[in-house]
Structures are given as C-alpha cells and as structure tokens.
Amino acid sequence: MTEASPPANLAERYYNYAYLDEQTKRMIRRAILKALAIPGYQAPFGSREMPVPYGWGTGGIQLTAAIIGPDDVYKCIDQGADDTTNAVSIRKFFAKVADVATTEDTSDATIIQTRHRIPEQSLKAGQVLVFQVPQPEPLRGLEARETETRAMHAYEEYGLQYVSLYENISAYGRIAATAGYPVMIEERYLMSPSPIPKFDNPKMDDNEAILLFGAGREKRIYALPPHTRVRSLDFEDYPFEVQSWEENCALCGAEDSYLDEVVLDDAGNKMFVCSDSHFCGERRKAGHSGPMAGHQLDQTVEGNTP
C-alpha cells in the first residue's frame, strides 16, 4: 500500500527540508518534550506562519515537520478519510518537502496526522498520532480570557466546567456535548481532545502510540505519552456515553465504527458509511459487505479513484 515518494525535485527545493528552518524545529522539539513531561498541559510555542492558512492544520503541520524524517511513512486524514481535499493537500506537501513515503494504511504509517478523528484500528508503539487543533483551550467556551483560563489550569480550578456540564443536564436531560468533549488527564489537567467526536474519546485512554496536539494559530502544543489515563468528564448518575447508530455501514456492514451520513437526494434518502475510509476499505477487501455494497461510493471512499 505504500507509495514511493516522488524524487526530490531539487529545482523546487527553494525551502528547507520539511519546510521549517532548523532553529524553529529545535524550538518545537523542545516544546514537544516539555508537553510529554506534563501530559495535558498546553505548552506555548513560537508558532510560525505556514504555507497553508490558519485553521487548515498549521499546528499539526508544524509538529509533523519538526519530527518527520526520510524514513517515516506518513498518513494524513481529515474527517477520518485519506481522500478529503485538505488531507490530500497536506499529504502532498510532506511528500514534496520531506521526501517521505505516504500511505493510506493505518498500520503501515509511522506518523498519522489527523483532523477530527482517531482511526478505528488500534495504534501501536512506534506510531505518532498528530492532531490538528483549532482551539486548544477546553475552557475557552466558558471563559474568553487566556489570563483567566491559564490560572484555572495552574490552580486546578475546574469547577466552572462541571457547573457547565451540570447546567447542560438540567437543560437537556443529558450532557449534550458531541465533539471536542473535555477530558481529564491523569486527574490533573483538563484537556481538549480537539474536535474529535466523543465516540473517539475512549481510544485516547491507555493508547500505545504517542499523541501530539498542535494548535498553530493559538500557538500551543500538548501531548499524551502512551499509557496515559484519559477520563472523559461525567457524573456518577450521568455516566459518559459514546454515540451509537441504529444503522450499520452501508458499504462494509461495520456495526461499531463512526458513521458519516451521506445524503443521496433531496427526497430524504440517505446512507451511512464509515468515516474511516481505510478501515472500511480493509473490511470490504476481507469480504464484508453492507446493504448498499456496490454503490458508486464504493470506488471513491477508499481513495482508489481510477
């Protein structure tokens, strides 16, 4: 599944290896080490302008650029899929500036950069999952000022967060939070998991891989070493629960993966398919099929458009 990277086009190498200059890489590397030493803590870093806009994954790109080497195998997903436009664009960027092999295969990759999902397949030691983070501060929605929220983390004052969840329960009868659901790291730092669906939250707990989070515009890096305790906030009488679907994946029949809803027409017809395109493709190759197997999405979901 691993594609050879295009040979380095020397005429196009107007920029440094992996785009960033070495001093910037050192600065980011130092921040990564401190972030790993203080799991869940948001370490400030001197984020640089990247050749993609803020919001397009500048934090994740800087993290990847600071750690990547020519021996790495790089996978990039957006919304779980390798073939979404922004994932394609970022993957091409690293193939070009870092001479790396790219892959869509989760288990082949040494670095996986992601926006909004954690792959369905379990990660393993030696892999690094790099998250693109739009807003690193889990308390920002409750308190706009950085000076205030930084003090809350420093003195472990998370009452405001619990009050907000409790008010949520009073209003809706449940914790009506869906993506970016806050987590407590080692019972010390409250952390935003980035806008992954809460379906993915349990995957962070005791994970085998290194999880790195980069927020370029907000200039913060945070990290989870492998085997870190990650608890989604809840109450005894309102325990944390993840999303589930009545439907299975229309293409591969998976019952336990995160599903995207695909609107088929304007008469209300729709189908549900795995958000993780590689996971879905592997299942279909192994002979699994869903109620709409053979649908035209079958070709494109896996990124194998002829």
Partner: protein, 368 residues
C-alpha cells in the same frame, strides 16, 4: 441525483489550481501585468503588504500582489509564509526617524513647526472625482513636482524636541529589555509589554485597527487624540556584524511614523502632561500609522489610570484579534469539511427532538 461530498479530492484540487491560474491571468488578449508595474504603480498596495507581511521587500510584495490577484490579505499571507523560512542573522539597530529623509511631514498641533509643514504626495486635498484621463493610456508621464516643498532641514526635529524644553510631553520610555519581544518567535503573553504591543499593532490588520481607532474617537474608550506629527520618508538601517563590532548601513527603508498626542490630567505623583501614542508602518501607510497610534495610546490606560471598559482598551481582545492572517484563516477554515462533528450534532439534535416530543405527548407515544 447522488451527492458525493468531498471525496475524490486529489483530482479536484489539481483542477481547482489550474482554474485559479486561468482566472488569475484573465483575458489573455489583455497584456499581462508585470511585477515591476505593480511595484511602481500600485505602490500603496505593495506598502500595505510589506507592513502587514512584516517583510520589507517591494519586489517580493509586488509578486505576492500579482499572485494573489490583488487580494491584499492573501498577498500578506504569501509574504509571511515566505518570511518565516528565512534564516535570521540578528536584529538591526533601532532606526532613527529624526534622521529620516522626509518627503512628507505635517503637524496638526501647530500652524508651523521647526522643519516646516511639507504636504508631500497625499490624497488629502484631492477631489475624489474619477479622473477619466487616467483611462486613456499612453499619455506622457506627469511633469516632476516643483521642488519648493523640499524639506528645509535635516535632521528634521521631532514633535518631542519641540516640546522638550517645557517637559509638556512625556519622554519616550525606552524598553529595558536588550532585545525587544518578538512575536514571530514567541507567542503572545499577558500583560503585554509595549514592545510586544507595538509589534502586534504594526503587523495588525489595517481595517481592524482603523475601526478600533474610530470606536475610540466615538467615545468607546476615548483618548481625545490630536495628530502631533506624521512623517514619511527614508531612513537608514544599521546592523552590527559580530565580526566587526560597529554598525554598518545595510540599506534604507521607507517608513510612515505617527505621534498622537493626548491629554493627561496628572496624578499625585505626576504633573499634568501630554501623553503620546505611537504608530509606525513600512512604506506610505498613514491610515495604518494613525490608527495604530490611537490604539497604542488607548491600551496605555493602566499607566495613566484611565477607566478601561471599551474594546479598544482591552489588551487581550485587541492583540489576539488584530492579525489578519490568523483571523482570515480561522474564519475561512469553516469551509473545510466538518461532517464528523456535524454528524455528532445531527444525531444529538434528532435525539433531543425525539425526547422533546415524547415529553409533550406521552399518550400518543404509548399508543404507538
């Protein structure tokens, strides 16, 4: 008809890039605009790109304007993303604007001041009537401007030196730090020093600063500003190479500098005095330099004990939201797919609606 969202990305991106190149060129029967034409004839666009792009290079800025199809925030972004990859040799000496070769210099505070009022190349007293003769191309270039306005003195005294003997105007406080704060290398931190603030404002979006300055003038955190001085011209940039140990001139930059004056009633410790706000921008950028000076002064409310409840006085609000590369990116990133999050929201809202109707109508529920 089937709706396939953003799958098939690779081909789509390629096609979009081709289409963009075609749109950039426009009608091929019209001559292509040259980078040198942009640099010489759209020089104020070039100046803005250099100022907010934090990189003094008119040729590069002109190229960015061309590549961005005239979209200045996009051009600013191109320059920033290039600038950030450049190696750093060190910091220059502070430029001395008193030794500026002045092309324009005005003060609204005095009818005449040492060095004189020099209008220079300004739109200020033009009538904003479309000049249809400009549409007729191929006219001979305009005659050189008469030299009568050439500034009479060099160095040109600053507004500070005009007041110096009476101590009516606060002195320039020099930063104690050896090297000023550098936002391109460190993230924003609060409370911000004046060096950090001035750098953020100098890189900040002209439109955002203009609106903030305007809001202050309209009473939302007013500082009653008065334009002490604006000067435009070229200054030498000096650098001390490690191996020489003394400064050498490495080039010249065009700058616009603005000193805004505001009153200060005084306190128990300090006599009443005029205070100032400071604005500086690459190139000819008066709107930017003046707005910056007003916002700088408004943000100094703590030093002069002013009540602070307006947006323009809120350091975190102003500094965090002034950068148009950050702002434009984050607003526009909403175009990226969010269907994983949206699916989560969709599921929740369907469930909450179901529960809502079950609560409203339990009987019918039982009958089903």
């Amino acid at each position: 008809m089937a709706y396939v969202s953003v799958k098939g990305g690779e081909k789509a991106i390629e096609n979009a890039h081709l289409w963009l190149a075609e749109a950039r060129r426009g009608d091929p029967s019209v001559a292509e605009v040259g980078v040198d034409q942009i640099r010489e004839q759209l020089s104020l666009a070039v100046d803005r790109v250099m100022a907010e792009g934090s990189c003094y290079d008119p040729g590069l800025a002109a190229l960015a304007v061309k590549q961005a199809r005239g979209d200045l925030p996009e051009a600013i972004f191109l320059v920033r993303a290039y600038r950030t990859t450049l190696p750093r040799f060190g910091g220059s000496e502070p430029v001395d604007t008193e030794k500026m070769h002045v092309r324009r210099r005005i003060s609204a505070a005095f009818k005449d001041i040492p060095g004189g009022q020099v209008l220079g190349p300004t739109f200020d007293y033009t009538h904003r009537l479309l000049d249809f003769t400009l549409a007729a191309e191929g006219l001979p270039p305009p005659a050189p401007a008469p030299a009568s306005e050439t500034p009479s003195s060099w160095p040109m005294p600053t507004i500070g030196s005009v007041f110096a003997h009476e101590d009516l105007l606060e002195a320039d406080a020099r930063s104690e730090a050896e090297t000023p704060f550098d936002l391109t290398r460190e993230p924003m931190s609060f409370p911000a020093g004046r060096d950090q603030r001035l750098q953020a404002l100098a890189r900040g979006d002209e439109g955002f600063l203009l609106s903030l300055a305007y809001s202050s003038q309209r009473g939302w955190g007013s500082t009653h500003p008065l334009c002490g001085e604006i000067r435009l011209g070229d200054v030498a940039v000096e650098f001390v190479p490690e191996e020489l140990g003394f400064p050498i001139e490495i080039g010249e930059v065009t700058l616009t500098e603005c000193q805004m004056l505001s009153g200060f009633a005084g306190s128990a410790e300090r006599a009443p005095q005029f205070t100032r706000g400071y604005g500086l921008a690459f190139g000819h950028s008066e709107r930017k330099a003046m707005s910056m000076a007003i916002v700088d002064r408004a943000l100094r409310h703590r030093e002069v004990g002013e009540q602070a409840d307006a947006p323009v006085q809120d350091e975190e609000f102003v500094l965090y939201h002034s950068d148009n590369v950050e702002a434009s990116g984050f607003v526009q990133h909403l175009k990226l797919p969010h269907y994983v999050d949206f699916q989560a929201d969709l599921q929740l809202i369907r469930r909450l609606r179901r529960e809502h109707f079950e609560r409203l109508n339990p009987v019918q529920e039982a009958a089903e």
